[in-house]
Amino acid sequence: MRGPGFTSVLGLVLLVGITVLFVTGLLSYAAYNPDLSPVNDKTPDKGLLGFYLFAWPTDPHWLYRFTQGVHVTLGITLIPVLLAKLWSVVPRLFTLPPARSLAHALERISLLVLVGGALFEFVTGVLNVQLDYVFPGSFYRLHFYGAWVFFAAFLAHAVLKTPAALRNLRGLRGAPEEKNDLVSPRPAEPTVSRRGALWFVGGGSLLLFATTVGQTLGGPLRRTALLAPHGGGEPGTGPNGFQINKTAAYAGITAADRDEEAWRLVVTGRTGTVRLSRAQLLQLPLHSSALPIACVEGWSTADQWWRGVRLRDLAALVGHEEDPPDVFVESLQRHGSFRRAALRANQVADPRSLLALFVNGEPLSPDHGHPARIIVPAAPGVLNTKWVARMTFGDL
């Protein structure tokens, strides 16, 4: 059963799957606009690894929901494939002699980077979505730099092994399987066929997929995501009863902080600073947009119906009538890594980008950012700052 045929099928699945994971991961990194402002950037020493960065678009409005949903759901679904692949090549771990040549020795060192890197990426990702921050450092740094280390080894492995894997796969449909060192020299009586084993791995993937994907699709399907962190049910009922990333209590926002009499939004721009109460904001032209919340953790909500003041109208209020610039947004939050965030000019200019005061026809709840929060199409969840205190327009 264990043999080059089984390994090749799993290897080719991982070749495609991990490539998609890497690309969607790089997209998520770009979605934070790390080159816009230090507050968006957890990896200021990225150097050339940020070579491809671009201004993250606002269209389609479900873009981040899609790319990050694919990233996390696919990653979880591939876990059985990765485990089976590692199982299938374990005889190679004990190959003797340890190295036949210099190239072979280097390849074996590269395999340690490959296996260590794969497990490091999967483990940090799986722990982060469960809020289990036990890894040594910031998730963004570890998962991003770890991805590049892993992908370097993955690329070399793919170039060296894909031709043989394709050859083996063609062989499966004709000639008998080549017997190499992956096949046991004294195999025990088989209890399962190769086809059966592949079904078994696929069944594991299907089970993980089925109990996870609902947290991304949302709606009634959220109930099917029985073990995913944002599956099962909603945190409440009514217009504000949809998924929350961090509650007001968790973020340290008190009722006094949010008090509508005391709270003022401080907006600064070319012509100076204005201070607006919530009542004054309600006097400005209000607009609606239907946008989702989409988290880096892979879960998202269906489109919610937000209502509030356009970001570009706020920019105009402080002297940026034409061509809205970037904006630096600060929350009432006193701690937490994204209590300050920067949005790019294209995000500010989008007519669907709001400083929201209402959601689904009711005032925002404390957990969804009352008195006011940012909502921008296609932006990662944490850039939609809640409990906004200050907005500074201008080139960052």
Partner: protein, 152 residues
Amino acid sequence: MRPRIPVGSPFQLLLLAASFALAGYAGVRLLDDDWFGVALWFVGAALLHDLVLLPLYAALDRALLRGLGTRRERAGYVRVPAALSALLLLVWFPLISGMVESRYRSATGLPGDVFLARWLLITAVLFGGSALLLVLRSRVRRAAKQRPPAVH
């Protein structure tokens, strides 16, 4: 004559050198904050998998096969639900074990104590379904044996 170290394929050497250079470029950044902790996780993950997790489940599987003796062909009925249940436990261990319960509840506003019960129920369905399948298939097989061979 001095013993010569074989070099191997030059293409492979170049490819691996390029791979190590890129891994090194990212690696120094990965190791910048807490090099020991990160190295421990990186190498530890590989060692833990290859030398603990894999031998452990392989040994459990062998013990199962030995225990079944002559009924080895029925191993799948135990193996499949057990492995699927273990897989779910492995992936969602922080939630199922309750080790992140208070942070999870305070951050998301969702109840954090539901995952153990859900995992146990899924496990019950997996084993129960497998048992049902075993009984049904044995009956069909027995019925097929008792039926006289069809005459054509």
